[in-house]
């Protein structure tokens, strides 16, 4: 541990950590766009700059390492003034349509513009006209909102190992695009949507059929049931309906998802989905039942069959749409409670 002075107070921080990490630990909030703790530091958006005593220029906190005795000011008048000017500049090249933008309420550019009291009338000029448009069945890129933080492209390359996106061209004309704007699938896209999840603004958005504002939703932490990995997800719930999915951190998926986890949630609210147990009556028709009644029936029948024909007359088939742990429990139940090895899983078909 070493000591630094953060906004005047002495603070013990881990050697080798960045100024941004030190600030996070101390509860000091610093704006960031291009930063993502899972990616190599890029330092290109410049919004996270802080004043470091003795340094000739403001330093990007995401990529400046702490040093013993370092004196850091995160919100000095100079820092605040320049962050504000930078935001004005970014907004001068951004389609400001927050009234209609689905990202409103969950947009870093909007949040910081509010925090730093940005005047969008002050800096004006031509806006970039992108050469290529990109979209697929699940999500679309709106170039007029893109701030070129590059998180999408770096996530695709460094975390998803897919290299679909290029930061093409140069200077003011730089744009995120597939090579020559070819179809995303042709460029190798697997629709995982991790680029969408990391976009801090309204540039990459799901092609959702649901209409909702961020502030109308609440997040419900859950485990994705599509496979055994156990990806942690936050379900976005509006009026008790799931309207979106965001990846959550955690050891199993580290904030990443696949196409199913990210986009294939509409079955939850589907009218054909079974939401309660059904028991077939004497008349051959299915009737709704309580869980207790249904489980009681299964347990009773299982015991009956085992007594009459032996345990191996019973087979258990579980679903790929439950978690790994649930599958494990089912296997345990079949072997230990029922007493047979006749257990399988639909994904093996």
């Amino acid at each position: 541990m070493i000591n630094i002075f953060l906004n005047g107070s002495e603070l013990a921080v881990k050697e080798g950590s960045t100024v941004l990490e030190a600030c996070k630990g101390a509860g000091v909030s610093i704006p960031t766009f291009c930063y993502d703790e899972r990616l190599k530091a890029e330092g290109s958006c410049r919004i996270c700059v802080v004043e470091v005593e003795g340094a000739p220029k403001l330093m990007p906190s995401c990529s400046t390492l702490v040093a013993p005795g370092m004196r850091v000011l995160t919100h000095s008048p100079k820092v605040v003034k320049l962050r504000k000017k930078l935001l004005e500049l970014m907004l001068s090249n951004h389609e400001i349509s927050c009234l209609q933008c689905e990202k409103a309420g969950n947009c870093l550019l909007q949040d910081y513009a509010y925090e730093y009291e940005v005047d969008t009338e002050k800096t004006k000029g031509r806006k970039k006209i992108a050469e290529y448009a990109s979209s697929n069945k699940f999500f679309s890129l709106d170039q007029s909102k893109c701030i070129l933080c590059g998180r999408c492209a770096r996530t695709c390359s460094q975390l998803q190992a897919n290299d679909v996106w290029a930061m093409a061209g140069r200077g003011f004309e730089t744009e995120v695009s597939t090579p020559f704007g070819i179809d995303m699938e042709e460029a190798g896209c697997v629709h995982c949507g991790n680029c969408v999840s990391v976009c801090p603004v309204g540039a990459l958005k799901p092609n959702t059929r649901h209409k909702f504002r961020a502030w109308e939703t609440r997040k419900v932490r859950s485990t994705c049931a599509y496979c055994g990995v156990g990806c942690q997800i936050d379900l976005l719930v509006k009026d008790d309906k799931v309207v979106g999915v965001e990846p959550a951190g955690g050891k199993s998926n580290n904030g990443l998802l696949c196409v199913k986890g990210k986009f294939a949630f509409d079955f939850i609210n589907h009218k054909d989905r079974l939401t309660e147990p059904l028991i077939r009556g004497e008349d051959g028709r299915l009737r709704p039942a309580s869980w207790d009644e249904a489980l009681g029936l299964v347990a009773g029948k299982t015991k009956e069959i085992r007594a009459e024909f032996g345990a191996d007359a019973i087979m258990g088939l579980s679903s790929a749409r439950v978690t790994n742990e649930e599958n494990y429990l089912f296997m345990k139940y079949m072997r230990a409670a029922v007493g047979t090895n006749n257990v399988d899983h639909c994904a093996r078909l």
Binding site: S157, D163, A166, M167, A168, G169, P179, F180, A187, G188
Partner: protein, 154 residues
């Protein structure tokens, strides 16, 4: 690429100039030099052959000014816009050429004869303002001299 023969030619250039991913720019420079431009399918071929993601190849070709995706005219007129030429009126020369040829910068005349570009300092500062037509340098220019120079290539 028009045909198999052309593809083989480009494959040869790639193999002769490639010594791993770090030689991407060398390879592209060689293709640009011999082929005149690097269209999409050629870039795709480079990506496959060199085992570099297509998106990285495209990042490089779209970044560096030297690489073009469209073929150039028979003669490339490059107006030096270095500072020494600028203070001696190279902008007037460029504007006059645009007017004479009826094209903008980085465009080619419909007959495929001339492509008009501008360049950074070509080092002929003593001849400012100067233009380069393919490899010929024409210096100490005035707008009045342009018809005669263009005439040399017609």
């Amino acid at each position: 690429m028009k045909n198999e023969q052309e593809k083989q030619k480009i494959l040869t250039i790639i193999r002769e100039n490639s010594s791993g991913p770090s030689s991407l720019i060398q390879v592209l420079n060689a293709i640009q030099e011999e082929h005149g431009h690097i269209p999409k399918d050629v870039q795709q071929l480079v990506a496959e052959e060199m085992k570099i993601p297509f998106s990285r190849v495209f990042e490089v070709t779209s970044f560096y000014a030297r690489f073009t995706t469209e073929p150039k005219g028979k003669y490339e007129i490059s107006v030096c816009l270095g500072t020494a030429c600028y203070v001696k009126g190279s902008q007037i020369i460029l504007d006059e050429l645009k007017r004479k040829l009826g094209i903008e910068e980085n465009q080619t005349t419909p007959d495929g004869l001339f492509t008009l570009t501008s360049s950074r300092c070509i080092g002929a500062c003593a001849l400012a303002p100067a233009i380069v037509v393919n490899k010929d340098v024409h210096g100490m220019l005035t707008a009045e001299m342009l018809p005669e120079i263009l005439g040399m290539y017609n």
